[in-house]
């Protein structure tokens, strides 16, 4: 009697156990799928130039810095790295400087034209924005912005600004307006209340969206390649030397692009979902 009653219970327990094993196996498999290719690039970057072009390959790095030092000392690389950092920093400042006030306005006020602005911001996502670098190239030549870091940063800001607006909007919406009102009743002006109450609470999130803006610019290839000639960024440099550069230069360059990106994403991981969750509406 009892055996009959127990059998289904045992069966579901077994099924559950099998289910959780399957779950773990799936997670591991997917993690390997993501991590293995990166690992292989790093192996190449940490091998000597001879090992990179040799066959068959070893699946472990020899920790020879020959490829990396060749890359760093290659003509133009140092400058390209510097340009990448410069453009990304400018993009970060511009997109937060323009985006955060807009995000604050969207979260705190109701006003005619709010819908139109949101539509404008969301519309940017229906367009392949790097293409807009083509007409801007001409405009920049006329205004003297061609081949400058600030010119490229302006284009990268169109990519990063919508994210800055949406993430700061969600940040400020998450901070109760009552806190601000309490500060006003205690005699703060609007600006003081913002600086002393809201800003400290929002700062980590703003930093995350700044890092995200930096990453967008750091990674962008097409506009960078179109708009820079002498002052190439690292992506533009690597793209334009794809044809002639040796394998070990490519892989070391790839690693130089990837490693900072890994750190950036780690730094903003908490905010990724807030960012995209809000982007849904």
């Amino acid at each position: 009697m009892s055996a009959v009653a127990e059998a289904p219970v045992v069966a579901t327990a077994d099924a559950r156990k099998a289910g959780s094993w399957l779950l773990v196996a799936t997670v591991i498999l997917l993690s390997v799928w993501v991590l293995l290719p990166i690992y292989l690039l790093i192996v190449n970057a940490l091998s000597s130039p001879e090992e990179v072009t040799a066959f068959p390959k070893r699946f472990f790095p020899s920790f020879d810095f020959g490829s990396l030092s060749f890359f760093i000392n290659f003509a133009g690389v140092g400058r390209a790295l510097w340009n990448s950092v410069l453009v990304a920093t400018l993009t970060m400042i511009l997109s937060i400087g323009f985006g955060a006030p807009a995000g604050y306005a969207l979260s705190r006020f109701d006003f005619p034209g709010k819908g139109t602005f949101r539509f404008l911001v969301l519309m940017t996502r229906a367009f392949p924005l790097p293409l807009l670098a083509l007409p801007l190239a001409v405009m920049f030549i006329r205004t003297g912005l061609d081949d400058t870091a600030i010119g490229l940063a302006l284009v990268h800001t169109t990519l990063a600004l919508p994210f800055a607006v949406l993430i700061t909007f969600s940040l400020f919406s998450g901070i109760p307006v009552e806190l601000e009102e309490a500060a006003w009743t205690l005699g703060c002006t609007r600006l003081q209340a913002f600086r002393k109450v809201i800003l400290p609470l929002a700062l980590p999130g703003i930093a995350a969206s700044a890092i995200f803006a930096f990453t967008i610019s750091w990674n962008e290839v097409f506009a960078a390649a179109v708009l820079t000639i002498e002052n190439r960024t690292l992506t533009a440099f690597l793209l334009q030397s794809l044809g002639e550069s040796p394998l070990y230069l490519k892989f070391a360059g790839g690693a130089a692009l990837v490693i900072p990106a890994l750190i950036f994403i780690f730094a903003v991981r908490k905010y990724l979902f807030a960012m995209w969750g809000i982007a849904n509406r």
Binding site: L23, P128, N219
Partner: protein, 281 residues
């Protein structure tokens, strides 16, 4: 400072910026595409369509999008589902799955170059297993199919994360009660997924698909890194016309075509996956 002007003042920088660097270049690119030497003409489009590479580039891009996006949708759903069921290590799994989000498309191309190159890791593996006698040329000009497969894999690897993040954020919005109720009534996990998760996830699915399809038509650096000029795509041709062939107007025609495809597909998915107002959570 108070009153009605404040929100507009806060929105002004972002709005002006988007007008100058988003709406204006958009108008400019349309203008350039339809003019040559100052007069209105359709010649740029004729030149574009008449080039032998155009149909190849068009079909390559379309085929890539048609193959990559559905696979990514399924993979992203799988990732989001396993993550949402995970009890320990959820944060770690999310970070790992999200890593490619921060990686440049050029770097992704170089990562997969490390695998598919003639002296790369795939050849090493095949030769270690005794499957090939000498390294196979996967990315040569005669092996368009393997180049295509490598690009497909690199694209799936690189851009599934963006869909995953949107879907995870969307799944977080679905009230737990629905799942619990269904479980009480004996619905299997699969049934719960199909009858509850998928329908309620529709807004996020819509965002994810639109975003991803637009990105798919922008494919550029991955192809440049893996195939060079052996696999023409639309963005690559745009770049060629701008640089190698020095014809801005034809490049603008290409840009306008990509823009038109993106906007058309966005409108299509907005309609096809429309969520009625009363059905939103």
């Amino acid at each position: 400072m108070h009153g009605k002007a404040l929100p507009y003042l806060l929105l002004m920088p972002a709005t002006l910026f988007l007008c100058v660097f988003f709406l204006y270049p958009f108008a400019l690119v349309a203008f350039e595409a339809f003019t040559r030497d100052g007069g209105f003409t359709l010649d740029n489009f004729r030149t574009m369509a008449g080039n032998w590479k155009f149909p190849v580039a068009f079909w390559n891009t379309t085929l890539l999008a048609a193959i990559v996006v559905p696979i990514q949708l399924v993979t992203a759903l799988l990732m989001a589902t396993v993550v949402s069921r995970l009890e320990t290590g959820r944060g770690a799994a999310l970070y790992i799955f999200a890593i490619p989000l921060g990686i440049s498309d050029l770097a992704a191309g170089l990562i997969w170059l490390a695998i598919f190159d003639q002296s790369g890791f795939l050849n090493t593996l095949l030769s270690n297993l005794g499957l090939v006698d000498r390294p196979v040329m996967f990315l040569g000009y005669q092996s368009k199919l393997t180049i295509f497969i490598a690009v497909v894999l690199a694209e799936i690897w690189r851009a599934t994360a963006i869909m995953m993040v949107i879907l995870v954020a969307g799944m977080g919005l679905i009230p737990r009660e629905y799942h619990e109720a269904a479980e009480v009534f004996g619905a299997s996990p699969w049934k719960r997924f199909v009858k509850i998760t998928l329908p309620l996830l529709r807004p996020s699915l819509q965002t994810a698909i639109i975003l991803r399809v637009i990105l798919a038509f922008e494919v550029f650096a991955v192809v440049a890194a893996l195939g060079g000029t052996n696999l023409p795509v639309l963005m690559g041709e745009t770049y060629n016309w701008q640089f190698s062939l020095q014809d801005r107007n034809v490049a603008a025609a290409f840009a306008l075509l990509i823009l038109a495809i993106s906007v058309g597909l966005t409108l299509f998915f907005l309609r096809a996956l429309r969520v009625p107002k009363e059905a939103r959570i």
